[in-house]
């Protein structure tokens, strides 16, 4: 039986736990898979260690519920990034890391593998009571990893390979990295950069800040890499309804990020269905980059053409058969800011002022159902509304009546 370790080898399991604890937070230990009770205890302990006071608990009749509670407006650094800084390693990994970079302290120091091995043995390890012994293949493998990471370079002199530290000419602007590490995609990478610098003053805070997307950074980075290579991917997608993981082959085209719902979607061409579909990024895992897709540019052009008709992330229907939505809202004198709200939130829609108290919004979109939550934010002002999809139209009006009933407003009785 292996003992508990604060560090982890695989990110995927903790990604799921963190999501559960952060987004929901109402499950007790018993609600998790019974077979993995030990795993639950270990993950909970890790999260307590990484996140400290952000981990909270509540006792309920079903047991102790653990959850992560963070007001992201108050927190200047995304605490969920800490999970990405908990990768396990071996004793030999860490020992070699610091010795290699000390030997290759400067880019002008260039050494062959045997020279490196000699220096490690004779100048670094010899004074330890039981010095580690590194064979050639272990050190070569580590150097190869670092070459792939771009932190060690190689140079050939005849048949000999020389290793040296990558030259670093980039000047870091700490303010920019602090800012973008919180709001740019894969911001955790910026956080890694900040970790290597000395502490500095925090000048930024963030409102409406969905820190949960951090948990998808690794998936996102691989998707971006696949897009830059114009490649197919094979990825595991967790079925939203079935709850079952399924492997799918896709051509990733663009990531759609919402700053109002906390969700990110991948829009991808699915060859099996010959269409562009959307996939929740937080439901994707185990992304493998496959062969180059010859038609990548064609699919992206199709994406660009159709994107103007997307209100949200739905791109499934035929461009010839768009839904239409039209609604009118009333505002009083002094409430002209409502027009301003419509103008800044209209996306691809059209706003026209009808008279001094009314304006009309119209849009053509793939799926008018996607507009419903936004339209509801104008409740108290809507004077008429029409969705071309009768089902959505009927449901919108029925929901309104349901709300009247829910809040005890006269006239909301069931029909």
């Amino acid at each position: 039986m292996s003992s508990y370790n604060e560090l982890i080898k695989n990110f995927e399991r903790i990604r799921n736990y963190m999501r559960e604890f952060y987004v929901y937070g109402f499950k007790s230990r018993n609600d998790y898979d019974k077979k993995s009770a030990r795993s639950y205890d270990d993950e909970r302990r890790r999260l307590e260690s990484w996140l400290g006071d952000y981990m909270r608990f509540e006792r309920t009749r079903d047991g102790k519920n653990m959850f992560i509670s963070i007001d992201s407006r108050v927190t200047v650094h995304n605490p969920l990034y800490r999970a990405f800084k908990a990768k396990s390693f071996t004793d030999r990994d860490i020992t070699l890391h610091f010795i290699i970079f000390d030997i290759l302290y400067d880019s002008t120091v260039k050494m062959t593998l045997p020279e490196l091995l000699d220096t490690i043995d004779n100048e670094y390890l010899c004074d330890f009571p039981e010095p580690m012994v590194f064979d050639e293949s272990t050190v070569r493998k580590k150097l190869k990893e670092y070459v792939e990471e771009g932190i060690i370079c190689t140079e050939k002199q005849g048949r000999t390979v020389l290793y040296y530290r990558a030259l670093d000419k980039v000047k870091i602007n700490v303010d920019a990295v602090q800012f973008f590490s919180e709001i740019a995609p894969c911001g955790v990478i910026g956080s890694f950069i900040l970790d290597k610098l000395s502490e500095s003053q925090e000048n930024f805070s963030f409102k409406h800040h969905y820190i949960n997307v951090a948990l998808d950074s690794d998936v996102l980075a691989t998707l971006f890499d696949a897009m830059s290579k114009k490649s197919y991917i094979t990825v595991t997608n967790l079925g939203r309804k079935s709850g079952e993981p399924k492997s799918v082959k896709l051509v990733p085209l663009r990531v759609f990020c919402s700053v109002q719902t906390g969700r990110q979607h991948l829009l991808a061409y699915e060859p099996d269905f010959r269409m562009i579909k959307s996939y929740r990024v937080d439901y994707l895992s185990d992304v493998k980059i496959d062969e180059v897709c010859e038609n990548f540019d064609k699919y992206r052009a199709l994406m660009n053409e159709t994107q103007i008709h997307m209100w949200g992330v739905n791109n499934r229907k035929d461009v010839e058969r768009l839904d239409t939505v039209e609604f009118t809202i009333r505002f009083e004198k002094g409430e002209e800011y409502i027009m301003g709200r419509l103008m800044r939130e209209k996306r691809g829609g059209k706003v026209e002022q009808i008279d001094e108290n009314h304006c009309r919004f119209t849009v053509e979109a793939f799926n008018c159902n996607e507009l419903v939550p936004w339209i509801r934010t104008f409740i108290c002002r809507i004077t008429d509304i029409h969705f071309s999809d009768p089902f959505v139209d009927k449901r919108f009006k029925k929901d309104l009546k349901k709300m009247y009933r829910m809040y005890g407003i006269e006239g909301g009785a069931e029909e």
């Binding site: 604060e6 109402f26 771009g150 920019a176 990478i189 890694f192 990020c257 009247y404």
Partner: protein
């Protein structure tokens, strides 16, 4: 791709420890402090014994090291690619940043790969030179803790002058706007940077520094009916608030959400967007705000 030990808190802690040991005589307590500030709560249980016992052969039992130089690591290709991607973001104009050394590096992502589709359309003008200059002046003032004399247009479009000490910049991703949070200003401590018409260093007599306005928090309790995937949608939607959720039965949940009183109107419309799937339970004041809107709506249609 991202999850690698070279970025780990343990490596960072050991790098700091080695720097300290190289620089001066170090006690175990010093190492403990470094671990606590750099790694996790339980990390010292692993790092210290591993270093002292020779499991990790970079420090010996006497707390000396064969390492000669304070550890550093060049930027990885991934870090460079991420930095290069920032060059395509319009907000990068707010910072004096050079991308020298990244010429041969590919972007990690470009605007073709990534789109924010629901950001408001009246975001700050990052291509306006006056705006950029004001932003930079404020950022410098925050860093140097120097007060500023600021001219803004009020709601009636009249110019107003404020003497204030900026303390940080708050950015809203949804609004795509920067706000200056400050002290010493009688009109409230939050000013939209885009509304500033003139800004200069304040050279007058010492300004009376009011305290930073303390956020007044309130809690709203919502009943979430899990139909049409509302549980997941609402929990994600409200994820950036401090919150606590209870399960009542298989389809009903209670969510307690802590919010800034100043943002109450915004929260009211955010609750409304879930329709009959989310009901305000308490406080009555918040519930009444919803009822008020529904009554008005009913009268209209």
């Amino acid at each position: 791709m991202i999850f690698s030990e070279i970025y780990s808190a343990y490596y960072n802690a050991v790098a700091k420890i080695l720097s300290k040991v190289i620089e001066e005589d170090t006690t175990e307590k010093d190492l403990q402090n470094i671990i606590e500030s750099t790694a996790f709560a339980e990390s010292s249980l692993t790092i210290l014994p591993a270093l002292k016992s020779g499991k990790w052969q970079v420090i010996n039992e006497e707390l000396t090291t064969p390492i000669l130089n304070a550890p550093t690591m060049p930027l990885t290709t991934l870090q460079k690619r991420w930095l290069k991607s920032l060059s395509l973001d319009p907000r990068i104009r707010l910072f004096d940043i050079s991308f020298d050394g990244l010429d041969d590096v590919e972007h990690l992502f470009t605007p073709d790969d990534y789109v924010v589709y629901d950001r408001y359309l009246d975001g700050d003008p990052y291509y306006d030179e006056a705006y950029v200059k004001n932003f930079k002046t404020i950022l410098e003032a925050i860093k140097n803790k120097t007060p500023l004399k600021i001219e803004i247009l009020n709601r009636l479009h009249q110019p107003v002058t404020l003497n204030t000490l900026p303390i940080r910049l708050e950015y809203s991703e949804k609004d795509d706007k920067f706000r200056m949070i400050s002290k010493g200003c009688k009109y409230g401590g939050t000013i939209n940077i885009a509304r500033i018409t003139n800004i200069e260093k304040y050279n007058g007599s010492a300004i009376t520094l009011t305290r930073e306005k303390q956020t007044e928090y309130k809690v709203v309790t919502l009943k979430v009916y899990d139909q049409r995937n509302t549980l997941e949608r609402s929990m994600l939607h409200f994820a950036h608030f401090e919150k606590q959720v209870e399960k009542l039965d298989d389809t009903t949940y209670l969510a307690h959400i802590k919010y800034d009183k100043d943002d109450e109107t915004e929260l009211v419309i955010r609750v409304l967007c879930f329709g009959p799937m989310v009901e305000v339970i308490e406080p009555d004041g918040f519930r009444n705000l919803i009822i008020e809107r529904l009554k008005k709506q009913k009268a209209l249609m």
